[in-house]
Symmetry: C2
Subunit: 418 residues, 2 copies
């Protein structure tokens, strides 16, 4: 993609009311635009990164048997009344609105009820279970305060998977499988080493739920972390009794600020019983379906990656989710040579954002740093005099001159190290 | 994908209140689920087809220079107040709701205002123009009646592209380019031959807008069609004066019922002036940006394809947008052979839905017809006795026996004909 054909401009300043670091940087780099607190447009570069995160999650959900679908945002009251969650006293982040016919409807804050209700059409017998359904879907939550940029939105996409199992035993097998999938997701997103499986409060059907918490100063959670065991405990369940149960030694725990990037939860038969999602078992008995829910917010995770990786020059993206791999700065009259290089790189599967604009080199370098693509390449009359180009990793201080012939191989191997 | 791993079941009946043919069939085939009038969940097969339609449109929008982004559904009043469209007396399909802070917000029915407002950050000089931005984004429209299934939703995805040009001349060049792109889209979606460029009413900045109308009994429009000239006139501008202007002969026109699958519109400087989207021209003068809008509803188009192609046995999908290419029915103890065939087909880029369930063959055949995949393949002990499989196009009456060796080639060439 040529910068001259991409409308996006970097900005000197973020809006004065924007207090979160992730949104400030994403706005300045032209990745998002703020509509209001907690509601951000995704501009082309932001959308590309967002979609790459989505695709990684999708692959891992498909790999454990997930069936992708997409539920509506508009919600009829009935399934929510059945579970008791229609009431604003119970769920205080509803957006509600009215149909032209006068009926009140809500905007989905989550989807346990409509999923369970819809699945009644598809689950009658034990032969229809287990089933695993998931979606990337816009949730709406009427948060009173929304000061964490894209980490906590009033409007945001959630990957929510729901497991439907015959019983607790079948549920627990998948619950374990989902943990392995989540670990692969966060590893591929580049935050595997700073993200920890965390015990948090459960519900009627299990003592604990599990969260994935990433060490992050902008996070809203406090966890107690055992680095050796690769486990953490959310402060909400941090008691001597729980530590004993989990075999954790208080003296070895580190208190850290974290952001929740995923959670998995045993729902049990609560929603199935509420909306009458039952199946007939092997003995002809009617049984409620045993459910679990498994969330990851791709936008929230993108915000956490910004918060934890950016430096004082701007964004820093892992190669897996960078909107493009290479920021190519061409200086002077080198159009033909630059375009030939782009063709070679693209043929090797390397995505290039080519800054072909008639701008000062210093301003192009500043944009390259701010946008945070993994590798900056400079091609100019000066470098071409020795049939060379200049290559620099976003996180390295110094550039190296590379012979034009070895350009693609060098960039490829730098991306692999990332 | 194995049917045994896909939760979806076909249904005997659609809900009693569902009057549209497209939704009835899509529900029975398990492609969508009805939440309420005008709001449908997309189940896995429906979502795959929907996403394939989206991808075709995306490729054609990228090819004419479109930059993809995604705006929010939640809308601040200000840009809409500036254009005069916040008022329900002017736009009667608003859903409005209230932030926890007390401010009223709307759910976007369209996005001219927020796009123009956002673009002020990126357009200052004539050097920043033209710019072409588009999105696949959920619109919300509070329709009083919503009886056309997925053809007219209260909640639906729209591809809306907005062109920002320096002046009318630059605008018109892109307007023409967009017509060629739209023609390629409808050709690739399999409705090119029944879809016609149609003159419709314009606005302050042009006498006409243009629609793409597909001949369809379930449509809501009436057009007068000149098949020879490949042109139509919407009844709303069907006057002797207009016919004369367009060089059309009344006697040659055919009155047909159609569904609008796309529209392109010259907006002029209306929205730019409303929200103060100006640029500085070559002479240092401040000028309003000249805009156009270009819509296609991928869900609506999917509905039109169902309406016009389905037969009395069920859905019929063009190969380009079928959720899978092949419905493989395995009968009896042929798992190993069936899985080997699936591997061969998938290696050749052919997507297979394998009905591996323990069901009667007749019920599998009925599902194959109802779901409408382009090709049905049967593999059984009987066919394998002669090292053959049975192959049938969805739209052909009779199946043919094909030697197992030629299976992939035969299916490939049948798909190409589609």
């Amino acid at each position: 993609m040529k910068r001259s054909q991409l409308f996006v401009k970097t900005q000197k300043d973020a809006p004065a009311d924007e207090v979160s670091k992730n949104a400030q940087l994403l706005i300045k780099a032209g990745f998002v635009h703020k509509e209001m607190a907690g509601a951000y447009d995704y501009l082309p570069l932001g959308l590309r990164t967002f979609n790459k995160i989505v695709q990684i999650i999708r692959e891992e959900m498909d790999a454990i048997g997930g069936n992708e679908l997409e539920m509506t945002a508009l919600q009829r009251p009935e399934p929510w009344q059945a579970s008791g969650r229609w009431d604003e006293g119970v769920v205080d982040v509803w957006f509600k609105t009215e149909l032209a016919t006068g009926q009140t409807v809500g905007l989905g804050t989550t989807h346990e009820e409509p999923i369970a209700d819809m699945m009644r059409q598809h689950v009658q017998s034990y032969k229809d279970l287990p089933a695993y359904v998931y979606q990337f879907q816009k949730k709406f939550r009427n948060e009173l305060r929304s000061k964490s940029g894209i980490m906590r939105g009033r409007e945001f996409v959630m990957k929510d998977l729901y497991s439907l199992s015959k019983d607790r035993e079948e549920h627990e097998k998948f619950y374990e499988l989902s943990q392995q999938a989540y670990e692969r997701v966060f590893q591929r997103l580049g935050i595997g080493n700073s993200t920890f499986l965390t015990f948090a409060s459960g519900g009627s059907f299990s003592k604990f739920s599990h969260e994935y918490q990433t060490i992050c100063d902008a996070g809203e959670d406090i966890v107690y972390l055992d680095r050796e065991k690769n486990l953490a405990v959310n402060e909400e369940v941090y008691t001597d009794e729980v530590l004993a149960e989990l075999g954790l030694d208080k003296a070895k725990l580190e208190k850290v600020k974290t952001a929740e990037v995923g959670n998995i939860f045993t729902l049990g038969t609560k929603y199935a019983e509420a909306v009458d999602l039952h199946y007939t078992d092997e003995h002809g008995e009617r049984q409620p379906v045993f459910m679990g829910s498994y969330g990851i917010g791709p936008g929230r995770t993108m915000g956490v990656i910004v918060e934890t990786m950016a430096d004082d020059k701007g964004l820093v993206w892992p190669a897996n989710i960078a909107p493009y791999h290479v920021y190519l700065v061409s200086i002077g009259d080198v159009d033909t040579e630059a375009e030939e290089l782009v063709r070679e790189l693209e043929a090797a599967g390397i995505e290039v954002l080519h800054d072909d604009r008639d701008e000062r080199p210093g301003s192009k370098f500043a944009d390259a740093d701010l946008m945070g693509l993994p590798i900056r390449v400079v091609i100019s009359e000066k470098t071409l005099k020795n049939t060379e180009i200049e290559v620099k990793s976003r996180t390295e201080e110094n550039a190296q001159l590379v012979s034009r012939q070895k350009a693609v191989d060098t960039i490829k191997s730098l991306l692999k190290q990332d």
